[in-house]
């Protein structure tokens, strides 16, 4: 890492830490949501961008994590870290079981099979009323606590810092994975699956591992979402959530992780502003933005930013 690169990273981190001092309560809330969705989208980028596995059912694992955290909070403990751990574990388990079947298919077939799994998990949440509360969702979830302190996380600034910490752990873990030998093997699978197989890599096992890992981190993000809203319902894991995650990755730029987070920020801020300005017709403009991004900004925000940077440096 260059010195300038390190300095930029530290500056961004400092800005993120100081954000609540500069933003009002609502904007801090919105930024918290962006970090949560950004982490979720980044976990999908690991599959979609790095490994070339386009999942359209990733919200299923986000939802499994959200319900696991919420139910654990309702019935066992309000401890925030315990909920994160449980969500991570349960989401990883569900991703592993569904992944066994999913990784056998490729391309659009993988896309539709993951869609089916995501929708089946959603239907399950909608119909397993005794556990999930059905369409009403689970509510009355106590505020999460950090060990001894029972109310530290209640103010939105504090919850933001907690989210930022968890986000960084997840994000750095993802960065670490993509830079590792395993990450390079994933890139090899994306490029040429047969060749990786003939080189002695177990392609199905690697795919299953990355599918499980991505599902686990999605569950982690789902737990954060549940802790923030103290509520979770099937709407939190619907097809829309999966589709938006794909959209923000493409807008932000694939295979960068950062692109997923920037895409999430772009989507949330855009939607927020459009919804203010246009009330019920914000979808129209958002759709136009999608179209323009594809035609004018191939490679998404990150590559657009890099092009701009190069031009400025020259």
């Amino acid at each position: 890492m260059t010195r300038a690169g390190l300095a930029t990273r530290l500056a961004v981190l400092a800005l993120l830490v100081a954000a609540p001092a500069m933003l009002d309560t609502y904007r801090t809330f919105l930024l918290t949501e962006i970090l949560i969705f950004g982490l979720f989208a980044a976990s999908l980028d690991l599959l979609l961008g790095y490994t070339g596995l386009p999942s359209l059912g990733h919200a299923g694992y986000f939802g499994v994590g959200g319900y696991a955290a919420g139910l654990f909070a309702l019935h066992v403990t309000p401890n925030a870290f315990a909920q994160l751990a449980v969500a991570l574990g349960v989401a990883a388990g569900v991703a592993l079981v569904t992944g066994v079947f999913a990784v056998r298919s490729r391309g659009v077939y993988f896309l539709m099979l993951t869609l089916a799994f995501g929708q089946l998990l959603w239907v399950l949440a909608l119909n397993w009323t005794s556990l999930t509360g059905g369409s009403n969702g689970i509510y009355g979830i106590p505020a999460p606590t950090l060990g001894g302190s029972s109310s530290w996380l209640v103010p939105s600034d504090h919850f933001y810092w907690y989210t930022l910490g968890v986000f960084l752990v997840g994000y750095v873990a993802l960065k670490f994975v993509v830079a590792s030998p395993f990450g390079r093997a994933l890139a090899g699978i994306r490029g040429n699956e047969e060749r990786m197989g003939s080189l002695g890599y177990s392609v199905p096992l690697s795919k299953l591992a990355v599918f499980t890992l991505a599902g686990a981190i999605a569950g982690f993000a789902g737990a954060l979402a549940c802790q923030q809203s103290k509520y979770f319902s099937p709407d939190g894991m619907s097809f829309d959530v999966s589709a938006v995650a794909v959209v923000v990755i493409v807008i932000g730029g694939q295979r960068t992780l950062l692109g997923a987070v920037l895409g999430a920020a772009f989507y949330y801020v855009m939607r927020d502003q459009l919804s203010d300005a246009l009330s019920s017709h914000w979808q129209l403009v958002l759709g136009a933005v999608f179209v323009l991004v594809v035609y004018l900004l191939p490679g998404g925000l990150v590559s657009g930013g890099r092009r701009l940077q190069r031009r400025v440096v020259r």
Partner: protein, 405 residues
């Protein structure tokens, strides 16, 4: 443009006729005259976008109709509306409540159409302590274990939707031969449970409760067949609204089930008018309950219909009336504190003690214990007059109260 500036501009606009109804700008004013008082800031938390936004937008229209019909004021104060689209998603709704309270500094929130949204925002509203009037979402829990000191419901609970036809079915259809069909989601389940309870208290024995997949049922025929196989003479039904209601009623007629059993149930089976028009002849003879009808003869209803007519969007739906009574309730509460909503405890106490008032749908009473309205429920029958389908009142089924436990 800065949001505040936008508010000012909207406030300076002259023509009331230009009040946006389908929604062009989020913040706008319902008043043109300049007065010394600060305007009452009302957040409209409703599903304003997406395929299910027609009924929630009706609620908003009804609310505006009341304000326009009453000197453009609520409790003597000018009014500023701030729209917040929840997209029929609890997470979005929670964000919007944060925004309405922390950025827009609203005095009161009105709206909330869907139950999942209601249960999702309940804790946030309670924590932020913002007075809220619920204009449709009917989850029982809000009047029971999830009751909030800050929330009042002027529409109904699912219990109130399900109970009224219980004794009627026992009397008209019989003590047996009744089957319930409901869309398998919370509103339907809670209403069906209430219907079963009421029917059995009236001496009946329910044949079965059949659940249809929610949100979409591709084919209703097997479910009607199941009811027929159980020997149904009458079927109480609760359908998801809109397209599902149209499919449901058409299937009933097209497959000849209308020759086997009478269909009756709660109002979203045949409301709003566009749904009934699409059902056409298939809906003839279906009995549904309602909290209001355009044909009711009282002063408020005349005022409501007259004002609504000026929008040029046709006859109001029952959802529009729900918006109207939410505004009516707010007006009464703000009047009780002489327009001063700054003392929240006093304002909330005023809301709880509004008592009884005359709405377009008859006499309503705010129950201080449950924060849920006590209301008359009417029975309607679908008939064809000329080339139009209407639902005249058959009778009053009684006054119904949410038990609160």
């Amino acid at each position: 443009m800065d949001r505040r500036e936008l508010l000012k501009r909207a406030g300076a606009g002259a023509a009331i006729a230009s009040v946006p109804l389908a929604g062009s700008s989020r913040a706008w004013a319902g008043i043109t005259r300049k007065t010394a008082t600060t305007p009452l800031r009302i957040g409209n938390l409703l599903t304003l976008s997406g395929p299910n936004s027609a009924p929630p937008i009706d609620v908003r229209r009804g609310f505006v109709a009341y304000v326009l019909a009453h000197g453009h004021r609520i409790g003597g104060r000018r009014v500023q509306f701030i729209d917040a689209d929840d997209g029929n998603n609890p997470a979005t709704a929670i964000r919007q409540v944060q925004k309405l309270v922390n950025e827009d500094h609203v005095d009161v929130i009105e709206g909330i159409f869907f139950s999942s949204v209601l249960l999702g925002v309940r804790d946030t509203i309670d924590q932020l302590k913002v007075p809220t009037i619920i204009a449709n979402a009917a989850a029982n829990a809000l009047s029971r274990d999830r009751k909030s000191a800050y929330m009042f419901r002027t529409s109904y609970s699912n219990y109130q939707l399900g109970v009224p036809l219980g004794p009627w079915a026992a009397r008209v259809i019989g003590k047996s031969g009744v089957v319930a069909i409901t869309a398998n989601y919370a509103a339907g389940q809670e209403s069906a449970a209430a219907f079963k309870d009421a029917y059995e208290k009236a001496g009946g024995t329910l044949g079965a409760t059949i659940l249809t997949p929610f949100p979409v049922t591709p084919d209703y025929q097997p479910y009607f067949q199941q009811a027929a196989d159980k020997g149904a003479k009458g079927v109480w039904a609760f359908t998801a609204g809109g397209g599902e209601a149209i499919k449901f009623v058409k299937t009933y007629k097209q497959f000849g089930f209308d020759k086997q059993f009478q269909l009756f149930g709660s109002n979203n089976m045949t409301d709003p008018q566009s749904v009934l028009d699409a059902q056409g002849d298939a809906a003839l003879g279906i009995r549904t309950t309602a909290n209001w009808a355009p044909t009711l003869k009282n002063k408020e209803n005349v005022l409501f219909l007259k004002q609504y007519d000026k929008f040029g969007t046709g006859e109001p739906s029952a959802f529009a009336e729900l918006g109207y009574i939410a505004a009516q309730f707010l007006d009464l509460a703000v009047r009780k504190v002489h327009g001063d909503t700054s003392n929240k405890a006093r304002f909330l106490a005023a809301m709880a003690s509004v008592g009884t008032w005359q709405s377009p749908g008859g006499k309503l009473t705010m129950d201080t214990k449950t924060h849920n309205v006590v209301e008359p429920v009417y029975l309607r029958n679908v008939v064809k007059r000329g080339s139009n389908y209407t639902q005249p009142l058959v009778s009053t089924l009684g006054i119904f109260k949410e038990p609160g436990a």
